[in-house]
Symmetry: C2
């Protein structure tokens, strides 16, 4: 329960994730299927969300073993979502290596994502029924349902704006989308899962604080994507190639002249394979000209600050204060991430 | 519990499926997301699998309300699998209308499938924890895990053979694939769910009998797809356009001359959009010449007969004999389906 034991969390969570996946199969083609399911989980992610679950459980003085199961569940959730997300966005890279569908094709990759989804539920259902050491298994399962539903809603907004060619996305639209798509599964639900692993109702403050912190995290992600030379596992300016509606883009389009706006939309509205590097460069120059990256950065910082204040208040009443401080440190670095 | 009450099962199951889906949303784009989730469930399917669950529960004298929940869960399972399946196979039609991804594009459709997947789990988790009126909720949940895992394995075999251009698929390979891909979720698991809804262990005979019946059902599906003039909701010869490895194709390739074989492979190995109707006609003529459709039909009938014999034996010991007879009637028509 000390700061020292927080340092080995990533490796312990990763171990739990890999242990939850099938190991081998006598049929050679099904053995290959097992291996495909392990590709994303074996590319070391940061396990930030899993760490939030474990530290929140400790802050609530909850069931340590259940915490690692729920943490691995959140990480497995992220892995299957990323497999599908990378297809949906036709991303090139994930964690510094080719996206799964670029290795095995879209049909096989969709099915691998579904297999990881069910592996997540199998793991969660290994939690002992009823309550043990405070664990409320039903609350854990309900939190996962909620988390997946919200994330899918956010994902729908993101994808349907691209599919329908909508470029009139406002800052508010963006904030609604990333709250659903990122903030719940990155911060709000992991915080609440800690309470469920302790069998207590979650603080109402987690939703407000977690939303601010998760939104800050996503805006930082968007900013990093357009910052050259940042090694964070995705291709530079991939968001522009994928036509993502970001706060940066919303700011740019709200402040650009009509002719600049038309030029930016012309570049972004075409499918990925029709995009040219010089077009992307023009968009990056317009972003620079209007200070849209700096604006997004300032919103992220403001959200992070407010989120951390509210988080501190919500955590102040919990029994595990050392873990609560570790959790604040982790969420500060998450919301103000530099990689 | 009479034959009469078996007649309204399809509408009652459909009602349960639709009631399990979100109805509306204040946000216009999320309202659209809700509507997209309802498209496949609202296209009236036959609810065969759901009916097997309810009749099996009645034969086991189990919890009637839990039976409808589990039945709707199996139907929701099929709906999300079909959404993903249609993308994976790039199918044109589903239940006589355009496949979802042809209406909204692949990215949005993948995400709709994921939303239906989580709706299935939300419905199943509405089952009362522990046991009630004999219901064993954990057994229901475990059966769904098993069912999804096996189906994904079968799907992987199907997709990876197409992706890797394998044409040396034998009859045994085919049978392994369809046992996993079709027989578990169509017959074996629905039969066993009836036992779980009654809180008793399932008969071991269900696996053997259900595999035979499910395999017969899938072979009949393959045969119907290549039989002109059958109105069963999918495009005629779609399996050839999609390059499906079927028992018919395995028989043809095992009996064709080298030059015929080369011609068939030439036609089928290219992507769907490069296939020409005259090429498909040549393949259909070769199938006719070698009696491959008749051969597949004979295997289906043999499997159906053996499956029905074993089923009858397994059902003979159960308390609800009227329901057991309804179940046999249903599974006979399923295994020997003509639409």
């Amino acid at each position: 329960m000390t700061g020292a034991s927080a340092r080995d969390l990533p490796s312990r969570i990763r171990q739990r994730v890999l242990a939850a996946l099938p190991e081998g199969h006598g049929h050679p083609e099904l053995q290959r299927f097992v291996e495909l399911q392990r590709i994303y989980p074996e590319r070391a992610g940061k396990t930030l969300r899993g760490q939030v679950v474990v530290l929140s459980t400790r802050a609530h003085d909850g069931d340590e073993d259940a915490a690692f199961t729920a943490a691995a569940g959140v990480e497995l959730f992220q892995n299957w979502v990323l497999v599908h997300d990378d297809i949906e966005d036709d991303s090139e890279e994930r964690r510094g290596q080719p996206a799964l569908h670029r290795l095995v094709g879209t049909p096989v990759a969709i099915n691998v994502g579904d297999a990881l989804h069910v592996a997540m539920w199998r793991l969660l259902m290994s939690l002992p029924p009823g309550s043990r050491g405070g664990l409320d298994r039903e609350a854990v399962l309900q939190e996962f349902l909620w988390m997946i539903e919200r994330t899918a809603e956010g994902q729908h907004l993101d994808l349907s704006w691209i599919a329908s060619g909508r470029f009139d996305v406002t800052e508010d639209d963006y904030l609604t989308m990333v709250t659903l798509k990122t903030a719940y599964y990155t911060v709000v639900c992991p915080l609440r899962l800690g309470a469920a692993c302790a069998g207590v109702p979650p603080s109402e403050g987690f939703e407000v604080a977690g939303t601010d912190l998760g939104v800050a995290f996503q805006i930082r992600d968007d900013v990093l994507n357009l910052t050259p030379g940042v090694a964070y596992g995705k291709e530079f300016a991939g968001d522009l190639y994928e036509g993502k509606r970001t706060l940066i883009l919303a700011h740019l389009l709200a402040h650009a002249s009509r002719s600049e706006r038309d030029e930016v939309v012309d570049v972004l509205a075409v499918p990925r394979e029709a995009k040219r590097p010089e077009g992307i460069r023009h968009v990056l120059e317009a972003i620079e000209r209007h200070g849209s990256l700096a604006y997004a950065q300032s919103v992220a910082e403001q959200r992070a600050r407010r989120g951390l204040e509210n988080l501190s208040e919500a955590l102040g009443r919990l029994p595990g204060q050392q873990a609560a401080r570790d959790l604040e440190t982790l969420l500060r670095s998450l919301a103000l991430r530099s990689t």
